[in-house]
């Protein structure tokens, strides 16, 4: 059933109010400190609404939303796992929720201790020597990591120019390297999706500062020649950055620090189950080997004779990268997740995530074509190759999935796979939920063969039908304008 919801601007009526305020006893007089040209008494078209108007509007919109609390959300490389409600109740404890970032730090020792313990936990999980919790997302973590590499090499008088990135990498990797002042060169993948070590040797040279590597890669395949890769880069004086977006697959099994990785970011909103919340806030802590420790961002949490405090006195630091102390509420939830699961629980998370992805691959492989034949870990990528003759594309499949109540997988990424459908079920899904998803996918395959027009015009059961993505991108309408203005 197609539905629509008017904008707040369209449902108000002049004079309608939500809250009746008492009369102002006297008009403020004198200079408010705001220049006259910026003061206004009327806002053209400003909506006037009652409380029930507003509550109904937003409640109706919320029912159109999709969320991991409503169903499986297999968005590949995003690790859309369920966020346990215990995290929320602990985050609302007054000692955390009512802390202000400007209160004297000596009055919030519990918060500082929690940050310190989270740093230690992330070190233990990843095998890195030190962590900063400041970056607010994976991409900012990449930028912070590359900035530290740049500071480290510059100080040694070995300023290098180039960063190598495999062609299957997340799109943020080249952007972060460029922002940190590097030129990016692409390293091709071998047919099974892993780094082509021969090509890597060819690209490596005295001007290469670092290799940015995602492991397991965006096809879900573990870089089983990681030790050789590290040897090639380290042998030529470069450093290796690991994008930890896919860390869920490695929990309790592989510690990147043990393989020799120099810098690693983790996405707490992926691996450690904090909300993705419509794009933010997230947290992208960065771990480093000891040689890079002097360059970590400030402030850093330290413990001295006067207890817990924040320290800014690190002359080689790349400086501040975030207001105050990072996204503390996100750090807190990740800490609760780690402490409530423990080492054994985290290992099970990794195992179950891999098992669930492999189960999807096993059940779907007869009807959908896997992008690679090698064993994958936490996510599986299919191409739409076997649908070409039917005239059905990845976009049609993704749109039709909405009718079955599933958020679609990541589509058209990685770019190395034509018509990619990239699925990451996470450890949170039961066998029944996975089977329901597989049934929907098999139904879609059946429709592609017998009634492809159902797919071409999907979705049918969502509040709005197929949107014109081309027009939206070419002629975006990003704001409301009063029809009378």
């Amino acid at each position: 059933m197609e539905r629509s919801e008017k904008l707040l601007f369209e449902i108000g009526s002049p004079g309608r109010v939500g809250i009746h305020l008492p009369e102002c006893p006297e008009e403020p007089d004198g200079d408010l400190g705001i220049p006259a040209q910026y003061l206004r008494t009327e806002i053209e078209g400003f909506p006037e609404l009652s409380e029930v108007d507003v509550v109904r509007h937003f409640t109706r919109l919320s029912r159109w939303n999709t969320a991991v609390d409503l169903g499986m959300y297999p968005l590949g490389s995003c690790t859309m796992k369920y966020n346990p409600k215990m995290h929320e109740s602990l985050a609302r404890l007054p000692g955390f929720a009512e802390t202000h970032p400007l209160q004297p730090e000596t009055t919030a020792p519990g918060c500082l201790r929690l940050m310190h313990e989270l740093e230690k936990d992330l070190c233990a999980i990843s095998g890195m020597d030190h962590f900063t919790l400041a970056p607010s997302a994976g991409a900012q973590g990449e930028f912070v990591g590359m900035s530290m590499i740049r500071a480290y090499l510059s100080e040694r008088g070995d300023a290098r120019r180039v960063v190598l990135i495999p062609d299957s990498a997340h799109g943020t990797n080249p952007a972060s390297a460029r922002l940190a002042g590097y030129e990016v060169e692409t390293v091709p993948s071998s047919p099974n999706g892993t780094i082509d070590t021969k090509a890597l040797r060819g690209c490596m040279g005295p001007d290469v500062a670092a290799l940015m590597l995602t492991n397991p890669n965006t096809l879900g395949v573990f870089e089983n020649r990681i030790v050789e890769v590290l040897g090639i880069v380290h042998g030529a004086g470069g450093l290796v950055y690991q994008d930890g977006a896919n860390m869920n697959a490695l929990l309790g099994k592989v510690r990147p620090g043990d393989t020799g990785i120099d810098v690693l970011h983790l996405n707490l909103h992926k691996t450690f189950s904090t909300p993705h919340g419509g794009g933010g806030p997230g947290a992208g802590p960065v771990g480093v080997r000891s040689v890079l420790e002097p360059y970590l961002p400030v402030p850093r949490v330290v413990h001295g004779t006067e207890g817990w405090r924040l320290e800014e006195g690190y002359p080689k630091s790349i400086g501040r990268v975030h207001a105050f102390h990072g996204n503390f509420g996100v750090l807190l939830r990740a800490y609760v997740y780690i402490r409530s699961l423990g080492a054994e629980g985290l290992r099970q998370v990794g195992e179950q995530a891999v098992l669930n992805a492999r189960y999807l691959r096993k059940r779907l492989s007869g009807d959908f074509e896997p992008a690679v034949t090698s064993d994958m870990l936490h996510e599986v990528v299919f191409s739409d190759h076997s649908f070409h003759d039917l005239g059905v594309t990845t976009l049609d499949i993704a749109k039709r999935l909405l009718d079955f109540g599933f958020h679609p997988p990541t589509i058209y990424f990685p770019l190395t796979v034509a018509g990619a459908l990239m699925m990451e079920p996470t450890e949170c899904e039961s066998r029944q939920e996975l089977d329901a998803f597989v049934d929907a996918m098999l139904q879609i395959r059946h429709e592609a063969e017998h009634e492809p027009q159902i797919l071409k015009s999907a979705p049918h059961r969502t509040p709005v039908r197929r949107l014109d993505e081309v027009a939206a991108a070419r002629r975006p309408r990003l704001r409301w304008r009063s029809p009378t203005a």
Binding site: G171, S383, H385, I411, Y412, F413, L415, A418, E469, V470, A473, R474
Partner: protein
């Protein structure tokens, strides 16, 4: 304007048509079909020095953002201003009104090392079977 027999192709799916020392460059019909509906084009400014195999612009479709690489070394003389308001020209007419830039080549002999039409078609077949 562009003589199809005179086109040369890269493995990254750009074409170049050489007239004297100036080459007109665009992306191939195969490339525009793979990308899907193009919604945004960004090209380097006139006067920019471009290098064979290095980025000279980006095209964004509803599926992805892709880099466009220069087939040759030279200096960018002109970019197709129509593409900023009508990026769909690349989908509609990739070898004509969808041209992207004109480059003055520093070494026109470079063009001879690119693929001609029949080798490009063979390359596409080979790529398709590899998938």
């Amino acid at each position: 304007m562009i003589d199809p027999d005179n086109l040369k192709y890269t493995r990254d799916h750009e074409w170049i048509a050489l007239e004297g020392e100036v080459g007109t460059i665009g992306i191939t019909d195969f490339a525009q079909k793979e990308l899907g509906d193009i919604v945004f084009v960004e090209l380097m400014q006139a006067g920019t020095v471009v290098t064979a195999g290095k980025e000279m612009g980006t095209v964004e479709s509803v599926k992805a953002v892709s880099e466009v690489y220069s087939p040759v070394n030279g200096t960018l003389e002109e970019s197709n201003g129509d593409l900023s308001s009508k990026p769909e020209l690349i989908n509609q007419d990739p070898y004509g009104r969808g041209w992207m830039v004109r480059v003055r080549l520093s070494d026109p002999a470079q063009v001879a090392r690119l693929m001609d039409q029949s080798s490009y078609e063979a390359y596409l077949k080979q790529e398709a079977s590899g998938q």
